[in-house]
């Protein structure tokens, strides 16, 4: 920079220096930006502050700028050059989208979900919690036995892809370097808040499971990566982590609480790892797989919150009528996030052998005066299920290709505009696209524009876009958005063959 940098506001300079006091490593860059934001009362770092920070961290301003602009949670507002302002009509639809989402997929985003307070460490230990760690430490064969048990139970990841848990562990153990364990608590799917329900109720179940995985795989570092908006869960975990360390339960392992970059893509493993390293929030191509080479080149085991919770079955954790969420230890129980035209939206535990209409009972029934139009199951890349099919047993639907995904269920009425619902889903992909690869960056924008226009739907264009996105996108976000577009005709009343 040849021009003298603009002066940083004194208050902001102090906020930056305070944030730097807890560590000046590059990998803390996102945390630093979030600390500055919080110190400024929710307002993101200024441009001059960013220049000052770059100088302090000895990074190119462009590098810091890149990181600040890829994570929405930094609240950094990039000053728009005058010439670009003329292009804002390009953006008009983007502004509509979030307002619309609130009405459709409105659910529980902030504050407490009204559940009982989280189980304390004392209560958790009383019912046998953390005993497995003692067993693992005293019996040298226990780790291998546990790994075999996990493989035998065929426990799978619960973030959507269903990758076998034991296989990730084996890959990590085989690879060079000390492994790292990551609790992925960045659920950001449209209208999904199931992990939040677990986090706010049973923090010690998650910490215990993460420490077990660390022990079995030889990891010395556990990151607990929580969605930036989940302030309540963050405070619960800050306390629970401190208690765990005080009780001497994590002597050989560092427990590290981190906040996410506020984007859906941050839940994608390679992007999550990039944010832990203080790099821009974008996925990278695999291989290498994170379980072989992830955080700082070390093998990195990432599981989502529900996966950790369900793991406890492998060491005999039992469900307890007093603790509703513990029903998840039963593989036939699913945790659904119910939103839309129901009286009592929220997280609902239900046997996945029942019917979708049974979820309505758990959600207090349909809203007043509403006739069921159908449900969208599986979040932003979800499947539209007609009112008639909601009466069929779930296993039937699954056999016919329905994937429950992250268990998002959006209930709509017979009067809701299906095109508007489809628009919401397409808009989600466009809003959440990181912009790295062309098919997702341009395709999602194009799909959204096509749906927002009033004319008849250009089905040929939609079909071409969906093929490009589903097959050529770099990561699951664009690929799934493309698969959703393929199902679009079903959103317009024509029964899908």
């Amino acid at each position: 920079m040849r021009n003298p940098p603009e002066l940083v506001d004194e208050r902001e300079r102090r906020a930056i220096q305070d944030a730097l006091a807890s560590g000046r490593q590059r990998d803390r860059l996102l945390e630093i930006l979030l600390d500055v934001r919080d110190a400024k009362g929710g307002i993101g770092i200024s441009k001059s502050g960013l220049m000052f920070l770059a100088e302090q961290l000895r990074l190119y301003p462009a590098e810091v700028y890149e990181v600040a602009t890829t994570y929405p949670s930094t609240k950094f507002v990039s000053p728009t050059p005058a010439v670009e302002k003329a292009a804002t009509d390009l953006d008009s639809e983007w502004r509509v989208a979030p307002a619309k989402s609130a009405s459709f997929f409105g659910g529980l985003v902030d504050g407490s979900n009204g559940s009982t307070p989280p189980r304390s460490l004392a209560d958790y230990r009383e019912s046998g919690g953390y005993e497995i760690l003692h067993i693992l430490k005293s019996d040298p064969t226990a780790a291998d036995d546990l790994m075999q048990k996990v493989a035998a139970l065929n426990l799978k990841g619960r973030a959507g892809a269903g990758f076998p848990v034991a296989r990730k562990w084996k890959q990590a153990k085989r690879s060079a370097g000390t492994p790292v364990v990551v609790v992925n608590g960045n659920e950001g799917e449209l209208g999904v808040f199931k992990d939040r329900f677990i986090l706010e109720n049973e923090p010690h179940a998650i910490i215990e499971a993460a420490l077990v995985v660390a022990h079995v795989t030889g990891a010395d570092h556990v990151f607990i990566y929580l969605q930036d908006e989940y302030k309540f869960a963050q405070s619960i975990f800050a306390k629970a982590v401190a208690e765990t360390m005080q009780a001497g339960l994590a002597e050989t392992v560092t427990l590290d609480l981190r906040r996410s970059g506020g984007a859906y893509i941050c839940g994608e493993e390679t992007t999550l790892i990039a944010s832990l390293e203080g790099r821009a929030g974008r996925p990278t191509e695999r291989p290498p797989y994170p379980s072989e080479m992830g955080y700082k080149g070390r093998p990195t085991i990432v599981h989502n919150v529900e996966t950790f919770f369900r793991l406890r079955r492998a060491w005999g954790a039992q469900s307890d009528v007093e603790i509703p969420v513990s029903r998840l230890l039963d593989p036939n129980t699913s945790l659904f996030s119910v939103t839309g035209r129901v009286r009592n939206p929220g997280p609902k535990l239900m046997s996945n052998l029942l019917r979708l209409v049974d979820l309505l009972d758990l959600a207090g029934g349909l809203s007043r005066g509403v006739e069921l139009g159908g449900m969208v199951v599986g979040g932003s890349c979800g499947t539209l299920i007609s009112a008639v099919d909601c009466e069929r047993p779930l296993p039937d639907l699954v056999q016919n290709g329905l994937t429950l995904g992250t268990g998002g269920v959006f209930v709509f009425s017979s009067k809701d505009d299906r095109r508007a619902i489809a628009f919401e889903m397409a808009a989600f992909a466009a809003r959440e696209s990181c912009g790295k690869c062309g098919p997702c960056r341009i395709g999602s924008k194009k799909a959204m524009e096509t749906l927002v226009s009033n004319g008849p739907l250009d089905t040929v264009l939609i079909d071409e876009l969906s093929t490009v996105m589903a097959e050529a996108s770099l990561c699951g976000l664009g690929r799934n958005a493309g698969r959703f577009l393929k199902t679009l005709p079903s959103y317009f009343g024509d029964p899908q063959p």
Binding site: Y65, A87, A430, E464
Partner: protein
């Protein structure tokens, strides 16, 4: 991969043609050596692979992967020049045309432009069917020897990698997310940076389109005698097989 030890060779096929590879090679690296051209825009010799334009998407083991990042595997059957893949690549290239402002007839890169050349190779012979986004983007002529016309940028990031990894400068970087993701310079404008016309990042071969412009040399080579006037993009690689 000239530095790789070559004792662990193996073969795989691309569209039925047997190709030799060595451990650690990507599908594209092996294909290039064997004289099989796989279309690409963001990948460039000597720069680290990024896998973002997706034009090099091939089918390997039933999966769609980017050939520039996917390691070659022994015995694998890779599909490259199929009608389906080329259609998808053409759609991808059309989408890039539609994202920016690419007015070939008035662009000094015409004939040397990889985007234009790729469109010809993939038979994109008429205006794109996708409606244009027509963004309004900045022109930066602040630097005495270099100009940037970001209307023509396709966000391939070759200049970013060249500047960071080859020049050791970091003059360019990405900013923003989604459709707003752009290549930007490390300062208010290019004159504010340490950019020099002798940088690798500024050289003719790094920017595939007409975004990075070296002043006063644009029309030194007349139209008709330019790089892709001599043959389709990729012909030099394909000629290795003949």
């Amino acid at each position: 991969m000239s530095g790789t030890k070559r004792e662990t060779g193996f073969t795989f096929t691309i569209d039925g043609v047997e190709v030799k590879a060595y451990a650690g090679m990507t599908i594209m690296e092996a294909a290039d050596e064997a004289g099989v051209y796989i279309p690409r825009l963001c990948d460039h010799e000597g720069l680290r692979h990024q896998g973002s334009c997706r034009v090099c998407t091939v089918k390997a083991g039933g999966r769609s992967v980017s050939a520039c990042t996917q390691p070659a595997a022994p015995g694998q059957a890779v599909e490259n020049e199929t009608a389906r893949l080329n259609k998808m690549r053409r759609d991808l290239v059309e989408m890039l045309f539609h994202e920016g402002n690419h007015l070939c007839p008035i662009c000094e890169a015409s004939g040397n432009c990889e985007l234009q050349a790729m469109a010809y190779r993939l038979d994109m012979t008429e205006a794109t069917r996708f409606p244009y986004l027509e963004p309004c983007r900045a022109l930066d002529a602040s630097h005495p020897d270099i100009a940037l016309d970001t209307n023509r940028c396709i966000s391939c990031g070759r200049c970013i990698r060249a500047s960071q990894d080859v020049d050791g400068k970091g003059i360019f970087g990405y900013v923003g997310r989604g459709i707003h993701r752009r290549v930007a310079v490390n300062g208010e404008n290019l004159a504010d940076t340490d950019a020099e016309v002798s940088d690798h990042a500024i050289s003719k071969e790094v920017c595939p389109v007409g975004c990075i412009i070296r002043k006063r040399v644009g029309f030194v080579t007349p139209i008709g005698e330019r790089e892709f006037d001599k043959g389709l993009i990729g012909h030099e690689i394909e000629e290795k097989r003949k």
